[in-house]
Symmetry: C2
Subunit: 451 residues, 2 copies
């Protein structure tokens, strides 16, 4: 009998690779934080002696979800202002609130609040994009969640940096001094085509090559962005980025609601990745990314929640469902983006976008044991004909029961094992009190109107 660290058995194991695969009554063996074997439970029990053994009788066991676009500290601004035009929302609410609040302390609390939310809902890796990247990375490492942390570059002055040069200084300080950490990788995050100069984009390209970093950028989010680029640069944003050399298998373009055939060919030819944020795109009325067309061309599509200020949660199951539903109506085809493909978008395709597909995204031997379990026993998901269908079309994120990252359990029967949420909520309220004056005006009625 071979000694191993951990055996997790489940009624259904869904490895993502190969597609459609559902293994009944299988065990995933974990040793030294990696997946050692995937085999029938009965065989596993005969051959291995695990230090810890967990049997999940009504559960799916699958790889953790990858949230491919987030602004984690913005959890502090959840619901601050909604139902507004983008420029009204930014100029009168979000930017003033950021100016007043954002510093290393508030970013610590906002990031931790987001990590608590993501772990609770089965997200084991996130691709971030916000100021104070060093703080975000520190909190992620402390809490044991995997993160690709973007270093923002833009021409808009903030509390973090006053001009593009300042943003580059912050980035180079990290690139030259940050210690390697098994859970943390970095990306360069030029904000958007309309907030970064050609000179800076060239520098981003140079650094991305030199340090072998992904480039994480908002691109083709709204019709206005396209019009502005045509006016100022004479070409659409993607074409401009291509001419500057940015498009490659290390380019992660987020949103992409405005795509014509030429844009899609560019993405296809350069093997750039697309991150779909359906709920944010709907809420801000940006548009609908043509997922069916992208998939048909073999372009890798991942999925992200965007920030909680514009969404207003970090629920990747919700995004996944919205993506699957929206793709169908947009393509006039109910067979488009079927459940197993949507599930791959939220796992393996996310890993591919971040260049982490050798490490995470599927249950395969040798990969990190970043795993989640979902309890389907509730009357809310009965009966069960096809567990993959339920995961996409019926599961509630609170049915996620257990989460492991590198084999370490961070959620156990729905409770976070490490993060103390009571204290965290108190701290979040402290910052929220400071942000509240920048929110929408509250309308409270007197009792005379109703009693």
């Amino acid at each position: 009998m071979e000694k191993i660290d951990l055996l997790i058995a489940a009624r259904w194991v869904i490895p993502i690779t190969p597609p459609h695969c559902v293994l009944e009554n299988y065990a995933v063996l974990v040793h030294k934080s990696r997946i050692l074997r995937v085999l029938p439970l009965a065989e596993a029990q005969q051959q291995y002696r695990p230090k810890q053994s967990i049997e999940l009788k009504d559960h799916v066991l699958m790889p953790g979800l990858v949230n491919a676009h987030a602004h984690t500290p913005m959890n502090l601004f959840r619901g601050l202002a909604d139902d507004l035009n983008l420029m009204d929302w930014l100029h009168h609410h979000i930017w003033p609130a950021e100016k007043a609040l954002i510093n290393a302390q508030s970013v610590t609390i906002g990031t931790r609040l987001a990590i608590a939310e993501m772990l609770r809902g089965g997200i084991t890796c996130f691709n971030d994009n916000y100021f104070f990247h060093d703080t975000i990375a520190k909190v992620a490492a402390e809490e044991g969640i995997r993160a690709c942390v973007g270093m923002v570059i833009m021409s808009v002055p903030t509390e973090w940096a006053k001009e593009e040069a300042g943003y580059f200084q912050k980035a180079i300080a990290t690139l030259e001094h940050a210690q390697a950490h098994p859970l943390i990788t970095w990306s360069l995050a030029p904000h958007a085509p309309y907030t970064v100069s050609n000179a800076s984009l060239r520098k981003v390209k140079e650094w991305a090559d030199q340090y072998q970093l992904p480039i994480h950028m908002h691109v083709h989010e709204t019709p206005t962005e396209i019009e502005q680029s045509l006016k100022e640069h004479g070409v659409r944003p993607l074409e401009r980025l291509h001419r500057l050399g940015l498009l490659s298998p290390r380019f992660i373009g987020v949103h992409m609601t405005q795509l014509v055939d030429d844009d899609i060919h560019l993405l296809q030819n350069t093997q750039a990745h697309v991150v779909h944020c359906p709920e944010s795109n709907l809420k801000l009325a940006s548009g609908i990314a043509p997922i069916a067309q992208l998939l048909k061309k073999g372009i890798n599509v991942a999925i992200g929640t965007d920030g909680a200020a514009s969404n207003n949660d970090l629920d990747l199951w919700g995004e996944l469902r919205t993506a699957a539903l929206l793709a169908k109506v947009h393509a006039h085809d109910p067979t488009c983006l079927p459940a197993h493909e949507a599930l791959a978008m939220a796992t393996l395709h996310g890993a591919q976008a971040l260049g982490l597909e050798k490490e995470i995204g599927s249950i395969e031997v040798g990969k990190s044991a970043d795993l989640i379990a979902i309890d389907l026993s509730s009357y809310l998901t009965q009966p069960v004909y096809h567990p993959i269908s339920h995961l996409v079309y019926a599961v509630n994120r609170l049915q996620v029961s257990d989460v492991w990252i590198q084999g370490k359990q961070l959620l156990k029967k729905g409770v976070l094992t490490q993060l103390e949420t009571h204290q965290l909520v108190e701290a979040a309220r402290y910052w929220a009190d400071k942000a509240a004056p920048f929110g929408m005006r509250s309308i409270y009625s007197s009792r005379e109107t109703v009693s």
Copy 2:
């Protein structure tokens, strides 16, 4: 000190009427199953002596949700088959499964499963549409939930009736013999324009007038339906229904994804109601109902989940959020369908569609005490700037903590007080085993492919 049955106090009371209203630290007083007063908690404690008093410190208290379109027994078919063309789905999966399974016993279990799910998520009233209407009404009355039960009329033979005359017979038997029940009302439910003859529609109109019943019908769901009507009747379905006299304030048209200006004028002039089922419309690629236009014309829009076989849950919070997001992108306007208006769709506007607006849909003195509480204390919905925003854009239905119908508590701290779900799940599995052969083919891989 006046004696009363029940005092429920909450951090936030949202009465729906007037719009935007949020009352802080208020109490709702309930006596003899009705709302007696709405006043500040401190005043209530000075003036009243309640038999039972409940204080909800981190909660919203609001009227129960109205699910304006359901096929409750279809909960048995949740996830049986997905990602298919409508006709493939119906002909090869749903109809054969219905033929093999649907009877009074299975309808009892499916309905009860749906009621458990709806109560858990804060739905206190549903508008149903399925065979065995007498059984559905009986189960709803037993479980203490409010229902408007549709009596199906159509030309398609089923186990319930073989031809239109048979369906009418079932309806007249109920209309003449059913005893009045405070929770149950009835509607006539001609299935859809393409499955009911002109003669039968005339009879539906006649009976609806005679018995003062709403007419609950799927209308303008898909482009095919419109084409077919133009070919067979020379007019669009709504125009045909109008010529037959069906459109009136007692007409409830469900789906309505295909609307031109003339259709919208007809709805406006006749004061007919629209039920929006956004997730079903997306999943089946039917289309997107033009909610912004309907609201602009003052047409009453309610919201429904549709059946669990095509959705795949009865989560009205999810529908509500999808509705609010989708309306924005469809109208190219992020200010469209703001949170408070979406919340009214799921409550008061649903009540109006069912002709129950004097009884339910808002917290107003004299209405039935059909109330729900939602716990916002979780780190998943912190901080709280505007509770109405959270209800629409961030709340998870499992945050519904308490439900009362007619002042009787049916959900307490997230647990159903009356419905025994363990037994129910067992019974559902019994029927699911019979339905499984009509589902999609399952694809299971052998371990060799993954280990």
